[in-house]
Symmetry: D2
Subunit: 247 residues, 4 copies
Amino acid sequence: MASKLIAIVAGVGPGTGASVARKFAATYPVVLLARNPDNYESLAKEINQSGGKAIGISTDIADSGSVKNAIDTIKKEFGSGVGAAAAIFNANSRFARKPFLELTEGDFTDSLDVSAKGGFLFSQAAIPLLLNGVEQKSEHPPTLIFTGATASVRGSALMASFAPGKFALRALSQSLAREFGPKGVHVAHVIIDGVIDIPRTKEWLKDAGPEAKLSPDGIANDYWYLHTQPRTNFSWEIDLRPAVEKW
Amino acid sequence: MASKLIAIVAGVGPGTGASVARKFAATYPVVLLARNPDNYESLAKEINQSGGKAIGISTDIADSGSVKNAIDTIKKEFGSGVGAAAAIFNANSRFARKPFLELTEGDFTDSLDVSAKGGFLFSQAAIPLLLNGVEQKSEHPPTLIFTGATASVRGSALMASFAPGKFALRALSQSLAREFGPKGVHVAHVIIDGVIDIPRTKEWLKDAGPEAKLSPDGIANDYWYLHTQPRTNFSWEIDLRPAVEKW
Amino acid sequence: MASKLIAIVAGVGPGTGASVARKFAATYPVVLLARNPDNYESLAKEINQSGGKAIGISTDIADSGSVKNAIDTIKKEFGSGVGAAAAIFNANSRFARKPFLELTEGDFTDSLDVSAKGGFLFSQAAIPLLLNGVEQKSEHPPTLIFTGATASVRGSALMASFAPGKFALRALSQSLAREFGPKGVHVAHVIIDGVIDIPRTKEWLKDAGPEAKLSPDGIANDYWYLHTQPRTNFSWEIDLRPAVEKW
Amino acid sequence: MASKLIAIVAGVGPGTGASVARKFAATYPVVLLARNPDNYESLAKEINQSGGKAIGISTDIADSGSVKNAIDTIKKEFGSGVGAAAAIFNANSRFARKPFLELTEGDFTDSLDVSAKGGFLFSQAAIPLLLNGVEQKSEHPPTLIFTGATASVRGSALMASFAPGKFALRALSQSLAREFGPKGVHVAHVIIDGVIDIPRTKEWLKDAGPEAKLSPDGIANDYWYLHTQPRTNFSWEIDLRPAVEKW
């Protein structure tokens, strides 16, 4: 793997984040960001042992100091002029599904902090590196991908603590797509409309068959595909759901 | 004015907020919320002198303590079981139209704080009073109206500090409409798509003719109309723009 | 009723069309269009006997010759320079809710013919009269309103014969709003999201309570309200649904 | 090429259709449909000479007899139980960009006939073959792709003859995605938002640089990618535009 350009994945956990990191690690050194090192340590080891390169940095994506520290660490590791080929924002807050009047202020602001403010801080940190990637003539247009959800486009009852942050992130991604597309950075937003097949959801939808949940590796393929689209053919938004999903 | 039910307007200034307050003051005692008393004092006086009833409460809508204080003041003034016929969220943050990489963290979070967190805090404070209004058999279904903007549905370039908060507020309003409609509260979201004719915009669009800006009194009429819709015919969302607007 | 301007309602039946016609007949002479005279005869009589003025014209809205004949009849009755204050397109085809592969070509084209081609023919016939209304300085901006449905914004399973026509009509209305707003004609689209309370739906939703269906008179009020919006504050689109509706 | 499953492309011309046909011809025998044989003859020859297999059938996609004839020809050529791996609807009518009141009835209905009725007839013809493909265990889920445009989601001024057909086609595709996804057929809709780089547009956007137009081969790659998505991860809709596009 000769690439000097890196990929950064924010929100690495046992599901989409890990699959995306593995996929991009086949081509780029990857930086894994998560608050809890438990979420990236074994993954980083796995990638490093299988011939790739990965570093993990404990990062609170909603804290500007913590995000700045992550960027400093990246520059120390990869050089101050390092370029990024891809930056993936996959962070999610915990999700309080409650009647609106039972929500605490923290239930609401946690989601906003991670999805909206976290998206903002990550983008401000990543875009200069992606613009470096443009200058350094990356093979594929440097790509900034945001993971969205059904709640990115639909405010359902009992979703008042979750949908606002997801709508906000979608707005951010659209604004960035319009501002940075002409500068050569591909900004995309992916609406994940369904349950992702991860350890935590193992018991869900068992009656609906083996294909009722989204495959994290499939999502990673889709992200990689977005990354490979040429400058003439950028997608801003795609949706993803299992064939059997009711929607 | 015999109504025991009140109307609450958050974000009273020289434009939409004042027009909405005057309109609802013809039927209900009105509570005017703004951070700066300059924004409601003369309006409250005007309403009180012309036969209505208004009180102003200095409130930082993004601060839970301040919002709680406003509700305490309302209950002291109108009784602890007071019902609301209408609550209008018209608060807006300052708006930083800048290239994304020049935005400060405060530019971004100010908008989120006011539009998203402010909308949340206001809704949690107002909905119990609106539910009281349902119980007290208000003439028109108690109504919670949110002021949106073009940026509620479109993330444009250079709008990355403003659109996320507005998208978030729209998500909130949709979630609340779905949760509280069946409980008798009418939740609506209004997309203001154009320049509002207020002192600050006096010099704008002068060449486009006298009808190129939205009339704040017209907006107030639309809000009142939404308020009068019966339970069989609720609108969640309407857009509003001048006839000559390009969109 | 001194108005020289008329209102035209296409798609008069026992529900929304009749309510809208009665509402507008309080201010304007009304022209009632329906394929089957049974659908307007007693209504025209009712309006004429209660001090209004109404004429019915048997019209196949999807047939250009028939629409032309309707306009000729209108001009003979009201003068060749007659202006219109309002034109409401409320026509609906029969609706075949079937698995896609069981749809006949006619199932599909009937909906397209009425909703899309009918909307086109009606608009081409009505807009010149609405522009006359602008010139003749109508009190309210001349208004062209289209009745939409849930299927105007959502293509559900088993709705493949109905949603395409409704989407097409919405596209038409948006194109016309953008073209004719600046010329003073208010074009609006109303998404009716729920069951309308008409004789045919009498047995529907009986368990959901007396307010589970949209009131046709309520819809008529909403249409009238849209008609009265001033040029500074046009709505293009509103949605309407019962408070208890799940959406 | 050992596949017994075929791909069908409706609307083969010098641009997207030809690129898509070439792309799918690398894996499947392809059937090329166009009204005018000039649009497919040289392409079919090119594919057949380079080791693929292609047949062209002169087809008026808006005429049910002509579409039936195409299917009969396909069955004669490939067997009555032939399965399809992919069916791409890329037909477009001529496009009359005129003030609304200058549109002829034909300007309007041509677009509807091709986009809406044509989409319907093609889908009814292709879906049974795609369902055969499911039964015959195609490597990738059989895929039905519709080519959309900016006008699929936006009714602009002067687009009243074009947007309704495109909105209708989008509605159809969404209804079909919801009905046939659970049956294993992947239905997708692609919003092409920009100018495609074809001979006819050679002189367009010359000042905007070599990447200001969508590449037809790039679109073909995107269609192929959609085709390869597994049943756990279907996209219904993606948008595509050049990086430099203003939107």
